[in-house]
Amino acid sequence: MSAACHDDPAPERGAPTGLRRIALIGSPNAGKTTIFNQLTGLRAHTANYPGVTVTRSEGMAHTPAGRVAVEDVPGTYSLSAMSPDEQVVVDLLDGTLPGCPTPDALVVVLDATTLRRSLTLAAQAMARHQPTLVAVTMLDEHAARGGRLDLPALAEALGVGVVGVIPPSGEGIAELRARLDRPQDWAEPPFPPPADSEEQTAWVRSVLAAADYHAPRPDATTRAVDDVLLHPLWGGVVFVAVMFAFFQTIFTVAAPIQDTLQRGLGWLAEQVADHVGHGFVGAFLSEAVIGGVGSVLVFVPQVALLFLLIALLEGLGYMARAAYLMDRIMAATGLDGRAFVAMLSSFACAVPGIMATRTIGSSKTRIATILAAPLMPCSARLPVYVLLVGLLVPSGTRWGPVQAQGVAMFALYVLGGLSAMVSARVLRSTVLRGELVPFYLEMPPYRMPRLRSVLLSSWSSVRMFLRKAGTIIFGTAVVLWALLAFPTRDAETIGLDQAHASAYVLEHSYAAQLGRAIEPVFEPLGFDWRIDLGLVGAVSAREVFVSTLGQVWAATDPEDPSAALAEATYLDGPRAGEPLFSAPTVVALLVWFVYALQCMSTVAVMRRETGSWRWPALALTYLTLIAYAAAWLARLITLAVTT
């Protein structure tokens, strides 16, 4: 799994006890998390679509008089929870969230462009008899589209303090920060707004009239663009084109940088050989560090570009459109567009994708989405795919202007996405049968993402990837290196040149014994013990497959492991001497990685989100069986086609 991966979508830091606690609540996509980031200096994930925040986050805000703890919670349209993420808000306010005391005060974040709807939530918040302050966001957009709002009059009508905030520019944040100091002095209404829905509606209309509120015109640009992007036919065509261009970009832009990194690693290996030698330390550096971790790090350009493009699409507001477009197709699978949002989040990593299912109200739909989400191609698969596609399709192959490797990559992503949908359909028709709850998702206006937000979001994900390379992947590489390097065979290798001595040690290592023990299981798929070793390592994280191959072939040829890998042959058995990475074997490997649930973090988060080991066990079983059967079938078909 990618690491981007294994951090919750938003940071959570415990506040020292005794500090005043203030909760930010508001409708989805109102700008709460951006305010939270501005107040606390943290970098919780933000994007331009509803449902980005699905967990509670906590940070420290420095105020003129000291510090307060600020809590960011998932967006909600009301305090009558309909989904697990909304329940977090209600539980927090009720004081029933484990380990979280009831907040001392509430800041209700209201989007000026949708104030009519948002005031219902404000009414419910004010009815809780806690000090309440209102922060009105999107004032610039509201005014630009001809909207009108008198903030002092709104404050008078509501009976509570109102602060206008434009989070991206930071306007109003200083005033908000100053007010956080003394919630006990915040204005209070004579009594709370009515609870009865009809009376509440009357209250909202009256407050808006008193505040001289005029709703903004519909965004002309958004409407014009949506005429195309939400069109039943053209919207679908654009969606496929966007995804296609996505992978073309990843290959064409990142490939030269990756080549440079690859050359850099080769140079490093030469330096190690020249200056450290081929002894114990030299072998560790060239095989475990350069061959293992280095072989994963060369894919950082692709991973960075993937996260950058995702952040751009999120910031623009395209994700909500994609979910809308896919709703009809998803309905055929027994899921809805909200499930598609969760699946899109899995593009980066299945962990936030699975957590994003908290926005789904129906428990059966939610579990079906959780079980299907690991099939969505995540960033951890990217290095594996890039490596294997590189072995399957010669670099530089083009069909006209189209990069052939990019097409293969796109096909893998389509296969993963389709498989997730088929899997969901089967689950919803069998063990998770049930009614489909109506889907609603607010379409945010298109917004030009701020460069800083996009870069920060991408960097945050890349940093997680790097951290993972330095921890899980490095740790696994060290263990594997020891298994590959021992037992030493000094006596048997006397008189052999370096390459033959390395090959002899490798073939008689503990790792070889382990690989050979499981070789019969994967033999029908065309995998030899070295590939099997990679599959075993990849159980902890998929990228480890790349580092394992890097190490094995670095042990074979420390100075050019890539060439050694491409030219590898079967060492023994009936296929001895034949190319190891033939098209049938590479296709089988690719298909294996499309389906296999090789990510312990995903299994752990499945357990946490479903509250049982039953569902992760089911996912592990069905995905492993499908991976094996599909890889075997893919090998047979490729053999038939290529021979």
Partner: protein, 96 residues
């Protein structure tokens, strides 16, 4: 309509987002409000330029009486100008 704090804690003004506001004087005399004055819930009702002002009776608390007063004010406004308590609806027959 929506309540806003008056000049003191016992006074609440029910703001009506309509104009002209002449119907407020008639609403102030509505039976539902007179009943609240009679039973001591309210000490008085006054029609101001843009709102009805209600003063709470002695030893009464808004927390306990707000819903009853709200219902009475609503009934009084609706009787004079149907729909007006729900805010400007465009079809409300505003009184002159």
């Amino acid at each position: 309509m929506h309540p806003v704090a008056g000049p003191d804690a016992a006074t609440v003004r029910w703001v009506v987002p309509h104009e002209p506001y002449a119907f407020l004087a008639a609403a102030a005399g509505h039976g539902a409000l007179r009943e609240l004055v009679a039973d001591g819930t309210l000490a008085g009702i006054e029609a101001l330029a843009t709102c009805l002002q209600t003063r709470l009776g002695p030893e009464r608390r808004w927390a306990a009486e707000a819903d009853r007063v709200r219902a009475a004010v609503r009934a009084a406004l609706e009787a004079q100008a149907p729909g007006c308590a729900s805010g400007p609806c465009g079809s409300c027959p505003r009184s002159a």
